[in-house]
């Protein structure tokens, strides 16, 4: 899979939406990390991470998410992970990305609506 097929970034008025595809593991993270940062505006405050198309997530993927989390925090923003299913959902729960310190929503619509309401 080409690195550009591993994710998609959409800049919305109130937030940046990142949708991942396929696996997020050591092999894909090493390719995505340098490329993804170029796609996200430096001043991007809020980020929604769409995981509905992700089939596998490992600890490298979790580390990668932490780097996104830090980026959002640096800009005084928030990050919401959303719509993980199956194995990725279990991993997020295991590492505590399930609604405690790290925000999580069952659906993308819910995650996006949170930022849209805030803007209103």
């Amino acid at each position: 899979m080409n690195v550009n097929q591993m994710f998609e970034v959409r800049q919305m008025p109130q937030y940046t939406l990142i949708r991942f595809y396929g696996f997020i593991d050591a092999s894909t993270v090493s390719q995505m990390r340098p490329v993804l940062q170029k796609h996200i505006p430096e001043d991007s405050r809020h980020i929604v991470v769409d995981l509905r198309e992700v089939g596998f997530l490992d600890s490298h993927g979790v580390g990668f998410f932490v780097s996104l989390l830090k980026m959002a925090h640096k800009n005084n923003g928030r990050i919401v992970f959303a719509a993980a299913k199956g194995q990725p959902s279990s991993v997020l729960q295991m590492v505590g990305f399930n609604g405690g310190l790290v925000s999580y929503c069952q659906s993308i619509e819910e995650a996006c609506a949170g930022f849209e309401k805030q803007a209103v």
């Binding site: 696996f23 092999s27 490992d58 580390g63 932490v66 279990s90 991993v91 405690g100 310190l101």
Partner: protein, 544 residues
């Protein structure tokens, strides 16, 4: 559709000894997805659920990624074997890379990292993920005759992802350190013992001591007189190291009178043999000492477990605040430890049910340590105004700050009972309790009370669910060892709801007895279950 447990059991029965194996002579990050997929396909072909397959696929990925990333000397060959048998699943990943020196320390660090969402580490979650997913996880550095490292994961049929229990000793030859400065003698004795034992030969005591720091032998045979550090010096030096004073030790010397030397007899050795020694005598002596040492060790462990069980036995008072509490429990010989704590104040009754999971250490010991810790936390925090969630919040904050306790995982359920029929429930990674209303014609429902494991998210606060129940309504609490028999995969509780439906009009005591009978029946289908099981039923207005 079969319930998860039956589906799993039938899959095993159909393929009693299915084996998947794979050898990788080149390993990079890019090779790992294909290997993971191959193993996942094998598991799914044999009827394993996507949930379990995902867990094992993650663990294999983490092990392989680790081998690509970390060892100073990268592996030239990695052999993976996955065996399915009636005893469960064993995944063995053998590699010839340089071993990880301090696995226990790495476990501790990994668990800290898994919990530390506050400091936001960007790496180091892998081992924590593996440890928290499987029944047994262990690492044997340079353990076989090819001196390969083995990372082994075991799951039993009825507990595919639950607690960690102390792993059984691997089937390997006992390791003997043989020390003699005479090369010919060393070679001869190594040959005498080599068939039954893994003999590591050293020409000096210092070399043996150096390796002892990373690899523990089952027995040491040393020459008495050697240049530099002699045999007596070696014995004394070993006594200062971990477990060094209990490892069986034989002196082998050309001086026959050495055995009678008062000095030698004072330093604590197990036998003294005079050179030359025959192969028969040497082997017989080694075998006798290893057998005896094993007997003593097992006896001490057995006594230790017995004592801890009696100290941990879960119990609650029978009638606090107008409620009836019934507690039933079975203690496993090994594995996790359940225990309870409580405090009755004029305002309410605060109860805690806890389940400690181990990870290569003795889980009973950790349960005992945790119980003591929670008792003191109770004394400090549990006052009249302490609610169910308050206690878990205090516990979580304390665990996150404690180097010792953060090496062990604990699930915890706290509840407050009030005389007016209110009940507050909060959970830290504990299975959801069930509400069985007397008026509901048997419909049981899970009570939503989820919360993270204590210490996972430092600074986080727990929420509590508050219910107001009617006389005769019952709340059923259980530890993982109890609920997992009804619900091995953690998704459905049909086997629990069916017997409960027949109990809605029964008293709490009778409901507990009925439910326990079903539990025992189901558990007999899974004789390898190795965890404590605790059931607590709280009935409002109940009478004995």
């Amino acid at each position: 559709m079969l319930p998860a447990a039956e589906k799993h059991a039938s899959a095993i029965a159909a393929a009693p000894h299915a084996v998947w194996s794979r050898c990788a002579t080149v390993l990079t990050y890019d090779h790992i997805p294909a290997i993971r997929q191959e193993m996942a396909d094998f598991l799914q072909t044999h009827g394993y659920t996507p949930a379990y397959t995902g867990k094992l696929a993650l663990s294999l990925t983490e092990i392989l990624t680790n081998l690509v990333k970390h060892p100073a000397q990268k592996p030239l060959q990695v052999d993976m074997t996955l065996e399915i048998s009636p005893d469960g699943i064993v995944l063995d990943v053998a590699d010839d890379a340089s071993p990880f020196a301090t696995f226990d320390a790495k476990c501790k660090e990994a668990l800290s990292r898994l919990r530390c969402t506050e400091t936001l580490a960007e790496s180091g979650y892998g081992l924590g993920c593996i440890l928290s997913q499987h029944a047994r996880v262990f690492y044997y550095p340079q353990a076989d005759d090819r001196r390969r490292n083995h990372f082994v994961i075991e799951d039993t049929p009825d507990r595919l992802a639950a607690t960690w229990i102390h792993p059984p000793a691997p089937r390997r030859k006992p390791v003997i350190f043989l020390i003699d400065d005479d090369a010919v003698t060393l070679k001869t004795q190594q040959r005498m013992l080599g068939e039954k034992y893994d003999v590591i030969a050293f020409s000096s005591a210092m070399e043996a001591l150096e390796l002892y720091r990373t690899q523990r032998p089952d027995l040491v045979i040393s020459d008495l007189h050697m240049p530099g550090m002699n045999g007596v010096g070696l014995r004394q030096a070993l006594s200062t190291l971990d477990d060094g004073d209990t490892v069986p030790f034989i002196f082998l010397s050309g001086i026959e009178s050495g055995a009678t030397s008062p000095y030698i007899s004072r330093i604590g050795i197990d036998d003294y043999l005079s050179k030359p020694v025959t192969a028969e005598k040497l082997n017989a002596t080694v075998e006798r000492l290893l057998t005896r040492h094993g007997q003593v060790r097992r006896a001490i462990h057995g006594k230790f477990h017995q004592n801890l069980d009696s100290l941990l036995k879960p119990a609650f008072p029978a009638a606090p605040q107008g409620w009836r509490l019934t507690t039933l429990n079975s203690m496993a010989a090994a594995g996790g430890g359940d225990f309870t704590l409580w405090q009755d104040t004029p305002a309410h009754f605060l109860g805690v049910i806890a389940d400690v999971m181990g990870h290569g250490k003795d889980a009973k010991f950790f349960a005992y340590a945790y119980a003591g810790y929670l008792r003191s936390l109770f004394r400090m925090t549990a006052r009249q105004e302490t609610g169910a969630a308050d206690f878990l919040t205090a516990l979580s904050a304390a665990v996150a700050d404690d180097d010792f306790l953060e090496t062990t995982l604990l699930t915890c359920q706290s509840f407050c009972l009030f005389a007016d029929g209110r009940i507050e429930i909060a959970s830290a990674g504990h299975p959801a309790p069930v509400l069985l209303a007397a008026s509901s014609a048997g419909a049981a429902q899970d009570i939503d009370s989820t919360g993270p494991l204590p210490g996972i998210a430092p600074g986080s606060r727990y929420r509590q669910t508050v219910l107001s129940v009617q006389p005769g309504d019952k709340v059923i609490f259980g530890t993982d060892g109890f609920f997992s028999v009804f619900d091995p995969e953690g998704y459905r509780r049909d086997d629990l709801y069916a017997p409960l439906a027949a109990c809605h009009a029964l008293s709490g005591d009778k409901t507990a007895a009925e439910l326990w009978q079903v539990f025992e029946t189901l558990r007999r289908r899974h004789p390898h279950a190795a965890d404590d099981a605790t059931l607590v039923i709280a009935e409002f207005g109940g009478k004995p």
